[in-house]
Structure formats: structure tokens, C-alpha cells
């Protein structure tokens, strides 16, 4: 039995290796044939911290992502043989072997990392000292999981999002070799509109700003909940892509999108001297005056911070409760009253004939008519 098991295992390895010789579609940059192992869905282990790590690479996803022209080794520089030791975390700011066409330099995300360090999300304060709770500050991958190209069509008549083949054909007439035209088209068009659907952006920010413990550690308001109260967020939730998400307001127009600054920083888009113009960004509230920015976006309804909103809310809730409870109790009692229509604790002493009541009304009306005249 044991022997049989061993035999079938051997057979499995042989078959696997044999099949691996003919990969269905290999990475262009897979020099070391990493996919040989990493294509298996179950490739995973529990790491030293007891965390489950999945090492499976979905080739289809990778091929539609922005890093598809990178070789594995461009990022995972410490791997030089197979099988390899546990690899180090990828440092996004290192140079990779892609040559940037405009400057003929090797490409690097270093400048982005520098911008991030300058922003409110940087790990060092203005004196160069590490801020408290280092582990809470985001690095590249906190926000950027493997993004996918979401190109849009700029060719007439095309409504389906994705590559307009007829537009691409114009590139292809010269750029015939390889995937260059497709890559360049996707690279450019992806950045012409929001790569992320606004809801995704909000989700990314909510990863940290929606975490109550983290907010307490850093003394932050619940900006996600208060943002979701605005019409901006509500329209986004209902499927519109036009209203602003977090980064639209919190980044100076034209500035690097990694430079989110505190509202106390004078160069911030939401600093009290600049926020007026931020709201008036073209295609937002163009016709508005700077006063529009006195609108309070992140209202928490705390009495000390937002007295107007707090007391208005209390007023309307009280009004609503008053009106609704009065009538709902009335309706309930009325339905109950129908169960025993004749019952009463106090019988009226005088049992008048209803004809007497008719006469009463008649007399009353006559009196009134006479007094009018």
C-alpha cells in the first residue's frame, strides 16, 4: 500500500514536470520559469508570524496589470536560484530594468516614495524624527494592491469599456512589433480617467480611516462615515463616477496624487486659505464663490464641534418622534377600540335620543345665523 502511494506520487511529479514543459502561456519576462511552481493554486504556507501566505500567481490577472512587462527578477531582486529561500519584501523605490522611453533611464518609483514621505502619511515628522505608531503609516502596498488596467474607449461609437480595436489599429500601423502599441495605449488611457472606481478609492482610505482603534491612536475623526453622509458619496454609491472621492479634494489640482497633506499645512488643498479654490476646481463648483467652502463636509454631529447640526438634528428628531408617536399610538388605540365598540367605564347619565341632538344642532345654527345678522 505504502509502495503504491509512493509510486503514484512519483508518477504525479513526472506528469507535472512533463506538463510544465509546455506552459499554456508563459510570462514574457519569466526567465527563471517562476510560473513552473507559482501557477499552482495551492502554493502557500504559514509564515513565521502564523500568517497564511498565498504564493499563487494568477497569470491572467498579471497579464492585464501594469507590471506585466517587468521580469520577476526586476522586483524580486534577491532571488537568484530555484528553489529559493523566503524572498524579501519588494522595495518599490528600487530601479527596475524597464527603460523609461522619455528619459532613457531605468524606471523607479523612488520619486513617488519621496512624495509620500513628504505627505501627511509620511513616517517621519518635520524634524525628521519617527512619528508615533510607525506600523500605522502606509507604504505602497497598503493602498496599491495589484491594479488592473481599466482603459476607456476614445473611439467614436464605442460604448463598451476596454480597448477600442479600431483606435488601436492606428497605432499598430507603425508600431507593428510585439505588444508595444497595446501597452502604450493602455498605459495612457488608464490614466486619462479614474483608474479606480471612486468606491474603491474610498475603500482604500477606509482601510485605515475606517479603523476605530487606529483613529483613536491618532486622534482622528471618523471621516469615512461623515463623508458617506454627503451627496458626493451617496451619488457614488448609486453608481455615478462624477462626484469627487477622497483624493479629488485632498490633493491640489495637478499635484502628485501621493501628496495628501493635513488641513493645517498651508500648502494643503483643504487648508482654509485654499479650500475655497479646491471646491471651485473646473467642472466641480465652478460658478460658486469661495464662501461655498464654508460648507462642512465631515460633520460628526458632536455638540461641541458642530453645534448647528447637532441642535437641528435634535429638533427634527424630536419633531418626528412627537408627530409619529402621537399618531401611531392613536391608530393603535383606534384599532383596539373597534374590538369593544360598546364598552365604556362611564355610561353617560343622560341618555338622549339622537333626534334631540339633531334639534340641538339646528338650534345652535339658528342662533349663530341670527347673531351674524
Amino acid at each position: 500500500m505504502k509502495k503504491k502511494c509512493f509510486l503514484s506520487l512519483k508518477l504525479l511529479i513526472v506528469i507535472t514536470c512533463f506538463l510544465s514543459l509546455f506552459p499554456i502561456q508563459a510570462f514574457s519576462g519569466d526567465e527563471l520559469n517562476c510560473v513552473l511552481c507559482h501557477k499552482h493554486r495551492g502554493l502557500s504556507r504559514i509564515d513565521e508570524n502564523g500568517k497564511f501566505r498565498l504564493f499563487y500567481i494568477n497569470q491572467e490577472l498579471f497579464d492585464s496589470g501594469p507590471h506585466r512587462r517587468n521580469k520577476c527578477k526586476d522586483c524580486h531582486t534577491d532571488i537568484d536560484r530555484i528553489p529559493h529561500d523566503p524572498a524579501k519584501k519588494v522595495d518599490c523605490s528600487q530601479e527596475c530594468h524597464i527603460v523609461e522611453p522619455s528619459g532613457q533611464r531605468k524606471f523607479s518609483h523612488k520619486s513617488v516614495a519621496e512624495t509620500l514621505a513628504k505627505s501627511v502619511h509620511g513616517k517621519l515628522d518635520e524634524n525628521g524624527l519617527p512619528k508615533e505608531h510607525q506600523q500605522d503609516y502606509p507604504d505602497c502596498k497598503s493602498c496599491h494592491d495589484q491594479p488592473l488596467y481599466r482603459p476607456f474607449s476614445i473611439y467614436k461609437g464605442q460604448k463598451i469599456p476596454g480597448i477600442a480595436e479600431r483606435a488601436m489599429s492606428r497605432c499598430k500601423s507603425c508600431h507593428t512589433s510585439g505588444d508595444f502599441a497595446k501597452d502604450f495605449y493602455e498605459h495612457v488611457t488608464t490614466r486619462l480617467h479614474k483608474t479606480r472606481f471612486p468606491l474603491e478609492t474610498i475603500k482604500v482610505c477606509a482601510k485605515c480611516h475606517g479603523d476605530e482603534e487606529l483613529r483613536e491612536r491618532h486622534n482622528l475623526d471618523d471621516v469615512i462615515t461623515s463623508y458617506k453622509e454627503t451627496y458626493h458619496a451617496k451619488l457614488i454609491t448609486l453608481g455615478s463616477e462624477r462626484p469627487p472621492d477622497c483624493i479629488d479634494c485632498h490633493i491640489v489640482e495637478g499635484e502628485n496624487s501621493h501628496l495628501i497633506e493635513s488641513k493645517l499645512t498651508p500648502s494643503s488643498s483643504v487648508h482654509k486659505n485654499n479650500v475655497g479654490n479646491t471646491c471651485r476646481t473646473s467642472e466641480c463648483h465652478e460658478k460658486a464663490s469661495e464662501q461655498l467652502a464654508e460648507f462642512q463636509t465631515h460633520v460628526t454631529y458632536e455638540r461641541e464641534k458642530y453645534p448647528l447640526q447637532f441642535y437641528m438634528l435634535v429638533f427634527f428628531k424630536a419633531l418626528m418622534a412627537g408627530v409619529m408617536y402621537f399618531f401611531l399610538v392613536l391608530i393603535f388605540l383606534e384599532l383596539m377600540r373597534r374590538l369593544f365598540p360598546k364598552f365604556t367605564f362611564f355610561k353617560e347619565k343622560k341618555r338622549e335620543d339622537y333626534h334631540e341632538y339633531v334639534q340641538l344642532i339646528k338650534d345652535h345654527d339658528q342662533d349663530e345665523n341670527q347673531s351674524k345678522q
Binding site: L238, S289, A293, L308, M312, L328, T344, R351
Partner: protein, 272 residues
Amino acid sequence: MSKKYAPIVKKDGQLYFYRFSAHQRLQHVVLFTSVLILALTGFPLRHAEEPWARPLYDFMGGTEVAPLLHRGAGTVLLGLFVYHTVYWMVLFYKNHLVKLRRQNNLTVKTFFKAILSLEMMPNKKDFYDIIHLWKYLLYFTNRPPRHDRMSWREKFDYFAPYWGIPILGPAGVALWWRDELSHYVPGIVLNAAYIMHTDEALLAVLFLFFVHWYNVHYAPEKFPAATVWLTGYLNEHDMIHEHYNEYIRVMIENGLEHEIKPQNFGGEEYEW
């Protein structure tokens, strides 16, 4: 009151009592159509996070069309509000002021007296009717209240939009023309307008769908729907139940005094 309409119509041996003219019924249709559109395009936005919001909003035209519908319906409702106000003012002028002037009796006192005598104006009797209703509901008496032509409930139903629209309307207009408005007032006015618009809307909708719809749809004797908003005439049973004083008066005026029936409630005749 218009002379076009007979106060009592007899059909198939049943008496029907005149309540609303075609003009008034049409105003009601415009009112509830615009309010329903406003609610259907407003509430998915108010509760955007709820699972029903997206399908309903998409059904109402989605993020491009639904706001236009909402603003259109809002404009119609505000227009109706102004129209109706002019409408009752003209009626008031024709039916009261002209008469008073003809009698050479138009003073500040008679003017206000005339206003207070309008059938929709809350008065002392309404106050006593409410107290009597509570006495009746808590089994302290077995005689239901006897209302005049307009009961306090109908007056409340009537004044609900009359206080709701002045709150909802201007707030809605402010949120709509926010950019233009910001040249005159600071942005925090929009914070106030936002609360006014959403919370008053919730109250209005809750009141409509629970209280008003109870009065005209859910109540056992009305279910599934009252017809007075279509025909303008109320049947004798409901007339006795809801407007007993008015019932007696109209019967006397039309020479039907001998046919007056006793008050009844809950399907049982009230014991005199």
C-alpha cells in the same frame, strides 16, 4: 362652495355627500404624483447604502436622470404650493371679503373673524374633539366624536404639506442652486439645508405612508382605498362616522331631516 355640485347625490338607493370639487381633486392628484416621484427619487439617495437603493434609483433613471426628475417634481410641487395659496385667497376674497364689503362691514376685526371661520382653520372645536377622541379611545365614553365639515385629522393632513413645503422647498432650492447661492450666503447654510431637506422629508414620508395612508387605505372601513379623492363624494356610512355634525346639517338643509340616521361606529349602531 361651488354651485355646480349637488350637496347630496342619491345613487342605487345610497346617499353620497359632496366633499371636493374637480379642481381640488386635480390639485390633489398633482400633489401626490409629485410627492411620490420626489420620494422615489429622493429616498434611494438618502439611504444610498441600503441594498434596495441602487435598484430603485436605477429604476427611476439612475444618477443622470433621477436628479432631474427630482428637481422637476420639486418645481411642480412648489408651483402647486403657490397656486393653491392663490387659489384659497381668491376663494376667500370672493366668498368673504366681497360680501363683507357689500355689507360695508370690512374692518380688521371682521377680516380676521372671516379668516378664522375658514373651514380648514383649526378652531376650539378641534381641540375639544381631540380630547374627546382620547376619552373615547381610552374607554371613558362610548360615543365617538362628532366632527364638522373638516375634522381635525383632515386639517392636520392639510397643514402637514403647508409646513413641510416651506421647509423642504427652499432647502431643496438652496441645494440645487448651491453654486449661485454661495455668492450671497456662506456654505454652512447648505449644512442646515441638508438637514432640513432630509429630515423633514423623512417626517413627511413617514406621516404620509403611515398616518395618511392609514386614514385612506389601511383603516378597515377604507381598505383597500377610499374613493372620495376620485369621485369627490363620500358615502353615507363614512359621512356619519367622520362628519356627524356636518351630516346632520346637510341633511336638514336638503329637506332630508326625517331620514337622518343615528351615529354608528365599528359596524355597530351607537346606543343612545
